[in-house]
Amino acid sequence: MSKSNTILYLDGVSVSFDGFRAINNLSLVLDKGEMRAIIGPNGAGKTTMMDIVTGKTRPDEGEVFFDGQVDLTKHDEAEIAMMGIGRKFQKPTVFESHTIEENLMLALKGPRSIFPALFHRRSAAEARQIDDILGIIRVGDKRDELATNLSHGQKQWLEIGMLLAQDPKLLLVDEPVAGMTDAETEETARLLKDIARDHSVIVVEHDMHFVRELGVKVTCLHEGAVLSEGTLDFVSADERVVEVYLGR
């Protein structure tokens, strides 16, 4: 298949730690503007895959291409982030000792070198962007709150908000609704769907209801390789998936 007009293209990717094969000849393609849900049992290599895409882990073999032509294996986290891949961690990771506003300010797209940062003054445009995002992630009222004082769910959202502030082409979202109430879960689903309108998104999630909410193509990983791919119904009908993951 051709790499062009794919946003993310993994082919025959493998990586192993001390003999343990975390990713085993994984191939996965994401089209521009697509949102994809990835499910799979623990140890399936979901997070490792994200590590590879975001340049945290180098694959032993296989090719990883972004936006059709960029070979991601040649770049490190910062560069990849600059190219427009945003990542949200499984456990919400925000700058606890900063306010929400500052968190977003640090995430805002813009020059990433030291001296601009040193003499940086906030422009009206930036202020506006931040206001928008605050609106989107529904914490506008807490802009001066320390991130550390946010609830778990709010942290999740803040982190997503920081991704948005980066204005990436592709978002990797790792278990966005872990530890959220049903209400929050639905909110998040809506939020992601909003985002998916103008971004490509990969969501890793265990919560089947949530995945159903999203209503997008689903890939099931197992032992570092694609086990099954298709609509949620198709995948959850797949015997092997039931066997290794969903259970009878």
């Binding site: 986290e77 910062a78 499984q90 990771t93 700058f95 640090l106 070198s113 980066q166």
Partner: protein
């Protein structure tokens, strides 16, 4: 706009006050020493001037360390090295100023070179007879070492304990190197017997007062610079790197550069401190490279309150005043006191005096600045969740353990 922030209310006022006080001291103390008659109650004896001048240099060193430790979570156990290098640069200038007044009366070679029968000056001593060369070296040498060292260390993501240990290795290696007489830096005796600086006699009260004032002003300047850095977006970034390094990476920031800049600036500040220190104590020798010295600097910052600007200064002044007092009154107990201080501060005052004061006052903004968690120090049961929380707001911790959340796979 920087000045704008300067006069803003809140904890920034503390900075303003500090700077003001330092500048005031820089003027008053010399006056009290030089103008007031020795009999008067207000007279400040030269011995106190020299002593406090030394303390101010220590304070500057502590502030420098705090910039990287408190705000970026890099616990450097090698800052004494930058301090000493700055000191040596200044010392070399002072040596050259002795000229033919050395015991052997050799106009070019310092005495130690004469009796180790050096025939001519080693190349790296050239130019040190000019003050400006020395001044540049004071900034350049520590800065360069820090830059090169940091460039390697941060790029290859050496963090936390490992970083601390290799910074210690660095200063230890330098210690051994400068002990060697073949190095051409006077070996164990170091550089001493200084005569004058910029043509003024280093022993003269006026010169002492001038040096004192210089130290105070330089410290004030450093406070301002640090405050400006910390207040800027870069400063926020610095703390962000401290709290969640990988997050900053995934946001596209080069964490290594962020650290490198702070580390280099801090090293330069340390170098300046050393340069001001040497003419006031009248000797620089490899002892300054002792790893234990660097560790002591850490405790100054910890006592005063790391992650604050005023804290390290207060800490340095207090601990050293205590040291002077103890070694005079209860010599045998000095080490007990110092050791006890180390333990007590880490256990009971994780935020240092300033941090304590702030949290006692419930000063919200200071809470952010001094980010060490109170309960971290005082809770007893090391139950995991608490550790995580405590750790999450303990600057030292982030650099040492991986801020990155570990997937539950």
């Amino acid at each position: 706009m920087i000045t704008g922030r300067f006069f803003a209310a809140g904890a920034d006022r503390r900075i303003a006050i500090t700077i003001f006080m330092l500048l005031a001291v820089a003027i008053i103390v010399p006056l009290l020493n030089l103008v007031v008659s020795p009999t008067s109650a207000f007279y400040v004896p030269s011995y106190i001037v020299a002593l406090t001048g030394k303390y101010l240099c220590y304070a500057l060193l502590a502030l420098a360390l705090d910039l990287v430790w408190g705000y970026c979570g890099i616990l450097s156990l090698g800052h004494g090295a930058f301090f000493a290098l700055g000191g040596y640069a200044m010392g070399m200038y002072l040596m050259r100023q002795i000229g033919s007044r050395g015991v052997y009366g050799n106009p070019i070679l310092p005495d130690f070179m004469v009796f180790l029968n050096y025939k001519e000056l080693p190349w790296f001593w050239y130019g040190f007879d000019h003050f400006w060369v020395a001044a540049i070296m004071v900034l350049a040498v520590p800065g360069l070492l820090a830059f090169v060292f940091g460039w390697f260390a941060f790029r290859s993501r050496v963090t936390g304990v490992y970083l601390s240990i290799i910074t210690q290795a660095m200063t230890y290696a330098l210690l051994l190197a400068f002990f060697r007489n073949d190095m051409g830096f006077g070996g164990n005796n170091g550089l001493t017997d200084f005569k004058d600086i910029l043509g003024f006699n280093v022993q003269a009260d006026a010169t002492r007062s001038a040096l004192f004032a210089a130290s105070a002003v330089m410290l004030a300047l450093a406070v301002f610079v640090t405050w400006a850095i910390v207040g800027s977006k870069y400063g926020k970034l610095l703390m962000a790197v401290r709290d969640a390094e990988s997050r900053t990476r995934f946001l596209g920031w080069r964490a290594e550069n962020v650290k490198l800049f702070a580390f280099t600036v801090s090293a330069v500040m340390a170098g300046i401190a050393g340069a001001l220190y040497v003419p006031q104590v009248g000797i620089i020798n490899p002892g300054e490279f002792e790893p234990s010295n660097s560790i002591e600097v850490v405790i100054w910052a910890a006592v005063g309150g790391r992650g604050t600007i005023v804290g390290p200064i207060v800490g340095a002044l207090l601990v050293n005043a205590g040291k002077s007092w103890f070694t005079g009154v209860l010599p045998e107990f000095w080490l007990f006191a110092l050791g006890g201080l180390f333990v007590a501060v880490t256990l009971l005052l994780p935020k240092g005096i300033i941090g304590m004061w702030d949290s006692w006052r419930g000063n919200a903004r200071a809470l952010r600045a001094a980010s060490a968690a109170e309960e971290a120090g005082t809770y007893v049961d090391p139950a995991p969740p608490k550790i995580v929380r405590a750790a999450a707001r303990t600057p030292g911790e982030w650099s040492s353990s991986n801020p990155e959340p570990q997937p539950a796979e």
